[in-house]
């Protein structure tokens, strides 16, 4: 009986291990987490299979025969057995605890000097700022491969007032961390693969929670340096170029249509026809665009939901972006 149970258990554990359940592994932290995960799940499946196969076997083999009304043998109490099945789980649990504590401590530690990225979460958008002499702001998270990045996350609006709780999660990187108003939470990521991954909010944060997604793009160290250099140059370069770069890097392209930037989004208003549409309150087109970027809720075009977050941009970048949108709209 015991040998049958052990064979079944070994088989189920092996099957479970070889099926590809988990998302792609793309960070060093995930490697440690996967180790803990598989040790724990392996133990669980093994123990469960032993218990289940013994129970099923006994249920079939020792089931009551017709007309048998007698009681079963009154077997109970065996100190040795009871000590055994208290000691074995305790030992297994100790192994899991030690392993987890080691991995946890490892994952909190950044390797070398980490790249710092300031993250701002608000209903319902992410914004990533790379500090430096010239700040670079992006709604897509760019990371260099092989280097630790430390995220400093805040839940707040552009004006610093607190937002609700959000949670940062990239399945391929493994970790998850809440972004809590009033606290700066941190997370260390060391990507091991190039690629384009999903960033998902995993704490119910209101009506747009399901849409609070963006991307994390892992570039080679050279690629990353080139990207950040380009962003800095664009931000300081001629207005048209800087504006287009901002339009693309801030994620406007995902929702708006603007031919000049090659954008075809349908979620928000079509910006090609901006100058032909009525502008509220007799504003100039330029003032209207500026207001709509900084405070989209000031005037919402009928038929569109309140999905766009307010953007708090450095003045140079904002000027360039406004100029670019206004110029591009006038070409149509």
């Amino acid at each position: 009986l015991i040998s049958i149970a052990l064979i079944v258990a070994a088989a189920t554990t092996a099957i479970a291990y070889f099926v590809d359940w988990l998302p792609e592994q793309a960070s060093e932290e995930r490697q440690g987490m996967d180790l803990v995960f598989w040790v724990t799940v392996g133990i669980c499946i093994f123990v469960f299979s032993v218990v289940a196969s013994v129970s099923i076997y006994s249920g079939i083999k020792f089931r009551v025969r017709p007309d048998d009304d007698s009681d079963g043998p009154p077997i109970h109490g065996h100190t040795g057995l009871e000590i055994l099945w208290t000691a074995v789980p305790t030992a297994l649990v100790t192994v899991i605890a030690v392993l987890s504590a080691v991995v946890l401590a490892q994952n909190d530690r950044a390797k070398g000097t980490p790249l710092r990225v300031d993250v701002r979460a608000q209903q319902y958008a992410w914004q990533f700022t790379y500090p430096g002499k010239q700040k670079v702001t992006s709604t897509v998270l760019y990371l260099p491969k092989g280097r630790s990045t430390k995220l400093y996350m805040r839940s707040e609006h552009a004006d610093g007032t607190p937002d609700v709780i959000h949670s940062f999660w990239v399945p391929e990187f493994g970790q998850k961390q809440d972004v809590v108003p009033g606290i700066v939470t941190t997370l260390v990521i060391t990507p091991t693969k190039l690629g384009d991954f999903r960033v998902i909010c995993t704490e119910l944060c209101g009506l747009g929670h399901a849409l609070m997604r963006t991307r994390a793009i892992v570039l080679s160290p050279e690629g990353f340096n080139a990207w950040i250099k380009k962003q800095r140059e664009a931000a300081g370069g001629p207005p048209g170029q800087a504006g287009e770069a901002a339009f693309k890097s801030l994620g406007c392209v995902a929702c708006h249509t603007l031919t000049a930037a090659g954008a075809t989004g349908k979620v928000g208003p079509d910006l090609d026809n901006l100058d032909k549409e009525s502008i509220p309150g007799g504003q100039s087109l330029e003032a209207y665009v500026r207001q709509s970027i900084q405070d989209p809720s000031a005037y919402r075009r009928p038929g569109y939901a309140a999905q766009m977050p307010p953007f708090d941009l450095p003045k140079a970048q904002l000027d360039a972006l406004v100029a670019f949108v206004v110029e591009s709209a006038k070409q149509h």
């Binding site: 218990v51 009551v64 109490g77 946890l104 909190d108 709780i165 108003p181 009033g182 119910l204 209101g206």
Partner: protein, 425 residues
Amino acid sequence: LSTSETTHAQVHAEHGAPPPPGHLLLRGGWVRALWMVPLFFFIGMGIVVGLRALAGWDPALDWEVVIVVGGLTLAPIGFLAGIGAFDYWTRYALGFPTRPEDHSSHGAYSWKDYFRVNTDHKVIGIQYVSTTIFFFLAGGLMAMLVRAELARPETNFYDTQTYNELFSVHASLMIFLFVIPAFAGLANFVVPLMLGAPDMAFPRLNALSYWLLPIAGIMMLSSFFFPGFGAGWTNYAPLSVDQPFGNVFFSMAVQWAGASSIMTALNFLVTIITMRAPGMTFWRMPLLVWANFTTSLLVVVATPFIAGSQFFVMFDKVMHTNFFDVSENGYVLGYQHIFWFYSHPAVYIMMLPGFGIASEVISTFSRKPIFGYRLMALSLMAILVLGFSVWAHHMFVSGMSTYLRVPMMVTTLLIAVPTGIKVFS
């Protein structure tokens, strides 16, 4: 045989349904509840409007406060008074002769008795279980509506707020109006029988604790009409504070359901400790009774914490306090610590009675005694104690102090040991 039949019939004839005292409008029951509910609502409204007018606040008639005080606090008390849950105590307190209940094991004479205040533990058990089945169906229907919306991408049937309310109310009904009270109902029915006790220790308190339950359920369901309660059953602040007004319906419903749980749990504890039949020592009690004993201890200690957390949220919302407003030095994680200090033990509140049932059923149908009886009971106690030390494992990624994570992980893993003992025994 014929003699015994006649005696039985005679007993019925002698007792009969108790003669209804007083006029229909004044006698405890649904008719009196019908006029006492509006009466108490207007008393609450009067208090609010009166105080606001005296203080010179504008407007004197603030409907949100009126609903919280009149609708969610006083009207339920009016309902309980109307249906007759306080009758005995009121008569006693006012010095009138009391009307003792019939305790001759004839809890219900007809189906109508299940819709009256009744102090028989078996009647209350059935009332509990049927009410929970009703809310189980309501909650299940909401789950179907959620799945229907998810069947295709994009929004199909409801807007996002309604969707969030559906899954929030679904979860709250299933937890507070189904799992927890369903086990309380079963225990009401069987625990006195298993102990050899004639009834629960406090039968009138038992009846009162049942009648709090439909109040809580209806309150949760009616949150839809005041949109809405859409922050998930965990109701995390500050999102819950930002929710529309209907959120206070959840906050108050939890108070009523929680009060019901605490009353039942106290009742079980006193019954189990003091009303065991001669010879029924603690180490001879069936494991189901042990399970209810530990569950009741959990309820009594933990439930006030969720009541507190929901009061904080409601005060932030209605009274504009700043428990969770960071810009006024509020502390957001405080909510989660208090909430999970209840809601983790609540997992065991929902599970231990199930362990008890499994122990009884398996042992009975395999026609054998429990293998390690003492260790089973001790494991229940171990789960009870450890259950209070693991709440923060719901908060590993919440941004709480990092040093809390490892101890919480260790206690969480340790709780697997008594649970394992229960499986093996």
